[in-house]
Structure formats: C-alpha cells, structure tokens
C-alpha cells in the first residue's frame, strides 16, 4: 500500500448536526493532513447572556441546540438552582429525570436509525429505506414520536421546552397522561427488542483505540443529571472542578475549542457512560449489551452508536419505573420552588445524549447574569475524533479512495457530533 496518494475534502459532512469538513492529504503513503475542521458560524451565547435575568437563562441557552434542548435547559437550571440554593420537590426531580430520558431516547433514535443506519444499508438517507426496509423506518418513526410526546407531556414541547423553569415546572402532566404514556413505553419494549436485534447484525468497522472515557457518575443510579465527574483513568472530581478536566484551547482551523485531560484527548458520550457506569444499567439494558457483544472496557469508537441503543433500552425501562413512582406518590400541580435573588455562582452538569455538559453562571445582586460558561460535549470530543482519524487512516490506506472517505465519515458520525452546539465556547477563568 506504500506509495498511495489520497486527497479527500469532505465539505460540510452530511447527516450530522452543524457544519464540519474532513480534510485528508496523503502523499506517497505519508499522511500530511488528516483532520476534522469545524466551520460552523460562532454564535457567542456566553457573551450575550450577560445582562439577562436569571429567569431567562435556561430558555435562552436551550437555543444552543435543537436536539438536546432539554439537556441544555437541565444543565442551565441546575447551575442557577445551585447558585440560588433552590431545592426541588421530589415530584419536580422525578419529572426532570423523566423528560431527560425522553430526550435520550429521541436523540439516540435519531442518530442510530436516521443518521447511522443508512451507512449500513448503502443508502444516502433514511428516506429510500421507506421502500426497502419499511418496518425499520416505521419502527424508528414510532419510537421517535413516543420520545417526542414524552418530552412534550412534561415540558410542553420537545424542542425548547417552555414549561421547564427555575424551581421546577410551570405545568404538570396529569395522572391520566402519565398512565397513557407508561402504556406506550411498555409497548415500546417490543421495538427496543427489535432495535437491539437489528443493531446486533450490523458489521461495525473493526478499529480499537483506547482513550480516557469521561462521564458523570452517581452512587445510586446510572448518572444523567448531577453527581461527580469520573474518568476511566481513575480520576474523580466534583462538578465544580470541571475546568480541571476540560482544559480548553483554540485551534486555528476550528470555530470550536478543544479539550484534554490526562492524555492528548478524551471521549464523552454514550460509550463513555457505558464504560464508567455499566453496573448501574437496567437489567434489560445489560441484556441488550450482551446481545450486542459489549462489556466494558469497549474501545471501538464506532460502538458509541451501539452504546446508544443500550441506553435507549435503559431509558425506556427507567421511564416506566419513574412513572410508577410518580403515580404511587400521587401527582399534584405544584408551583416552582420559591427562591430569593442574590449575588451567587453555580455550576450545573448533566450527561446529555452526546456526553457531559457543563453550564456555569455568575449572577449579581439583582439576579442578572454577569458571567457564563457552557462546555459542550462535542467540543470535548474533537481532539479525540482527530486522534481516532489519524490512527484509523493508516489501517485503511490500501482501500479505494471512496471507501476511505466513507469510513472516515462514518467514524466522525459515530461520535454523533453536534457542531452547532460546539461553537459556543468561552474562555473565562473563574476565580
């Protein structure tokens, strides 16, 4: 394979959220350039939330991302509520978890079925699969609708949930709605089974590269909201120390910043959560993992999509359990928890579909935001994506150029990058 020349410029990689390019230049078998460039327009959220009242922050920052707007709302509210010292009621806490599961299912079904699966069916999108694999598409649509409806039931709307507010919610679902939703979730178990069966047959590209896996972790549950930061290299940090993990820097070919911790790069997302918190998965999710042939430590980044399938199973099961708990306690309309405005600071974190997310705010005496920092999962993955590209390319250099391009696209896509999210970074040192 030695004397090969490869020149690839994938302008605006498709089936990902946002704009990014893959650039590869190989001369005489020697790799000159191989990297992913983020070309998305920067949006400057951290700069323009300054001067806004605390009550608006979650509704503004949810607009960072259309896919994980529940995740941004949750991290934002966690930060503000910690800063103000707001205690949520048990019901509000359960509803936050429930809507979060809805978004995990929604985002994962979007990525695995709509964005990743077409690669394995030789299709350019999910649309031609309507003809060739109708049952698969109908199942994806059904699960997607279920997840969207679950989010809307709790938050009023899935994309940019209007009912999520400081101290809880401005709207409460009824017991009747919860019961109907639970029945649909129970029905969805069959779709989850079929999903696991489908993804167990996919020929994932063979590629191993161990890295540091970073996620949230909690003693009592598979962590999505709050807890501590945990890494597979043996580090544990309180959420407030997030900057010890995310050490950020600028690179000239990317409007998104990069991060590194114990190694040159680290990975966040479903695979990182799976590797750190496998033991806390629901038994049905562990069963799914066994059918997919996965047990920690999994070091093939393509299997991030398979880890998402496992998490979908977990989130369906945990949603069923949470609704049980809500119904047993009895659901009542509650006003958001009361709070007093004061000068304060808080860091909120949750592990959104694409990985660990941090929001950090400082407020003045009047509850006006004076500083903000949002650290997005996709940013934390960029350095690792590039390290993977550079390790993977030499292993496939003997393939035709089209196949190389396709495999590199699949590798970037496996990370489920959310590029519009990743271009709102901030370089602030908090003292």
């Amino acid at each position: 394979m030695s004397q090969v020349d490869v020149n690839i410029h994938v302008h605006h990689l498709t089936r990902v959220e946002g704009h990014g390019d893959i650039v590869v230049d190989v001369k005489n078998g020697e790799i000159k350039t191989c990297r992913f460039e983020v070309v998305e327009a920067p949006r400057f959220f951290e700069a323009f939330v300054r001067g806004r009242p605390y009550s608006e922050l979650s509704h503004i920052t949810s607009r960072i991302c259309g896919i994980c707007s529940v995740g941004h709302s949750t991290a934002s509210l966690e930060a503000t509520e910690k800063a103000l010292g707001v205690q949520l009621t048990e019901q509000a806490r359960l509803l936050r978890k429930l809507i979060f599961h809805g978004e995990i299912i929604d985002s994962h079904v979007l990525h695995t079925y709509y964005l990743v699966a077409p690669d394995f069916f030789g299709a350019h999108s999910v649309i031609p699969l309507v003809e060739t694999h109708r049952d698969v598409v109908l199942r994806a649509l059904r699960v997607k609708k279920l997840a969207g409806d679950l989010c809307a039931m709790v938050g009023g709307r899935h994309t940019h949930p209007c009912a999520m507010t400081v101290g809880g919610f401005t709207h409460t679902p009824t017991e009747k709605e919860l019961r109907a939703m639970q029945a649909r979730l129970i029905e969805a178990r069959a779709d989850m089974d079929e999903t696991v069966a489908l993804f167990a047959t996919l020929p994932w590209p063979a590629f191993e590269r161990e890295t540091e896996y970073v996620s949230l972790s909690k003693p009592d549950e598979y962590a999505f909201i709050g807890g501590q930061i945990k890494t597979t290299d043996g580090f544990i940090y309180p959420i407030e120390d997030y900057q010890k993990v995310t050490n950020e820097w600028c690179v000239p070919f990317s409007t998104a910043k990069w991060t590194r911790h114990n190694r040159e790069s680290y990975m966040v997302g479903a695979l990182a959560r799976f590797n750190n918190n496998y033991e806390q998965l629901h038994p049905r999710a562990k069963e799914a993992a066994a059918r997919l042939g996965m047990k920690p430590l999994v070091t093939n980044p393509f299997l991030n999509s398979a880890a998402q399938v496992i998490e979908m199973v977990h989130s369906v099961e945990d949603s069923i359990r949470i609704i049980d708990e809500l119904l047993t306690r009895g659901v009542k309309a509650e006003a958001p928890a009361p709070h007093q405005v004061k000068a304060c600071e808080g860091v909120g974190s949750c592990d959104v579909p694409r990985g660990i997310l941090f929001h950090h705010y400082v407020y003045d005496d009047n509850g006006i935001c004076v500083r903000a920092n949002c650290i997005i999962p996709t940013n934390q993955n960029w350095a690792n994506v590039n390290a993977d590209l550079q390790a993977f390319l030499p292993q496939i250099l003997d393939r035709p150029q089209d196949e190389i391009r396709h495999l590199l696209e699949m590798l970037v896509r496996a990370y489920d990058p959310c590029i519009s999210c990743s271009t709102h970074f901030l370089n602030v040192t908090f003292v």
């Binding site: 998305e40 920067p42 323009f48 259309g66 938050g155 009023g156 919610f169 519009s420 970074f425």
Partner: protein, 248 residues
Amino acid sequence: MAKPKVAFFDFACCEGCQLTVVDSLQDHVELLDAVEIVNFREAISRQDDDYLIAFVEGSITRPQDEERLKRIRQQAAIVVALGACAHTAGVNALKNLHPLEDVRRWVYGDKAEWYDTYAARPISAVVPVDFAIPGCPIDRDEFIEVVKALLVGKKPPIPDYPVCVECKLRGNVCMFHIGKTCLGPVTRAGCKAICPTHGDGCEGCRGPIPHPNENAMKDVLAEAGLTVEAILSRFTMFNAYRESEVVE
C-alpha cells in the same frame, strides 16, 4: 408531472426547526410523495443544486455567509425563512446588544481575530425573502400548512392577529392575572399559544404583529403594575434585531 424539488439550508442556528420538519413528517409521510428533497444536510447525504423551493434556517452572522445565501436565492424560485433565527435573527441578535469586539474577545480571547463575525441579521437583510415561517422553534402543523399552500401556488396562511386570540380560544387564564409577564398582546399568533398554555408567558419568538396595538399593550401592563421598560428585556429576547418584518 415532476415533483417540485425542495432544499433545506442552515446558517447560525440550533437546527431545531429542521428537526421539527423531520418530526412533522412523522404524521405526514405523504408529503414525501409530493415533493423531492434534494438537499437536507442534517438528514440526507445527497446534495443537488437544482431546486424550486429553499427553506433557510438560521441567521447571517459573518460576511462569508452572504455569498452562500445569495447563491441559494439565485437558484430558488421561492425562498422561505424557516424559524425565528432566519425570520427575526432570533436569539442570535442578542449579541448585537453588546459591542462586537467585546463579544468576540469574551468568547475567543486573544485568538479573536481568527474568527469572523458581524452583527447577526435575518436572511431578509441580505436577500429578498418570499415568505417566513415564524417561531422558535417553528410549529410543525404550520409548517405542513405552508408547504401545502406553496405546492398549490397559494400564499401561506400565517396569522396576522396576536397570540391572545389563540390563548383565549384555548380557555387559558390570562398570564397577567397570575402575576406573569406575557408578550401575547403584540406577538404574531400561529403557535396555538403554546407557552401560556403551559404556564409560561409569551416570549415573542414569532415577532410582532404588523400593527401592534401599543396603547392596549400599555393599558394591560399598567393594569398589572408594569411598564414597557420593565419588560423590555423580554421583548429583546427574540426581537433584538428590529427591521425584521418580511411577512406582510
């Protein structure tokens, strides 16, 4: 008859409106039989430069975006602004309230000169726009109605009355009566008053109605013990860029 070719493009935005398009197809798979989608980077790999209708999501925030948008305008017979960022510049225009250099340095520090940016603007500030689907995000039913209208050559049915009309139809208690602030009296309807229905006052994401009754709004505010100044912050949330009316 050949199916009309439809394309989707985006600039600075969260892509939530395109995701809403994807979601709206859950209940309207028949639309896929009526049109041919030739460009939708978020969902499909095919990219074709021959299309009749272009839906554009996102605001224009840097000089190099203008050229891309002008090429889209040149190609498409109909350009539709998809959602608040394209229609009113949405939350992106909040950065226009700060000095630009300050914003750039705040985010990228001493590397600020690496990244181009200018004041966020709606797409209508750069090219003529035929129609706009307002909202952050767009309403999925309204999107379907607009597509149907465009396919039969009619003007899309975007309401020009305020959110209050829809809110009353839904039987909601007025937000001002429960101590909340609401821009419903001056904001364009079409969202089915989704925020007040879920206990949250309107944030104005669909932009103002063509001739808002400012005096009535002031009366409502006065009755609630509020002033225009007191709710100005809320009014800038989605409407910091002012010359944004494209649907008349």
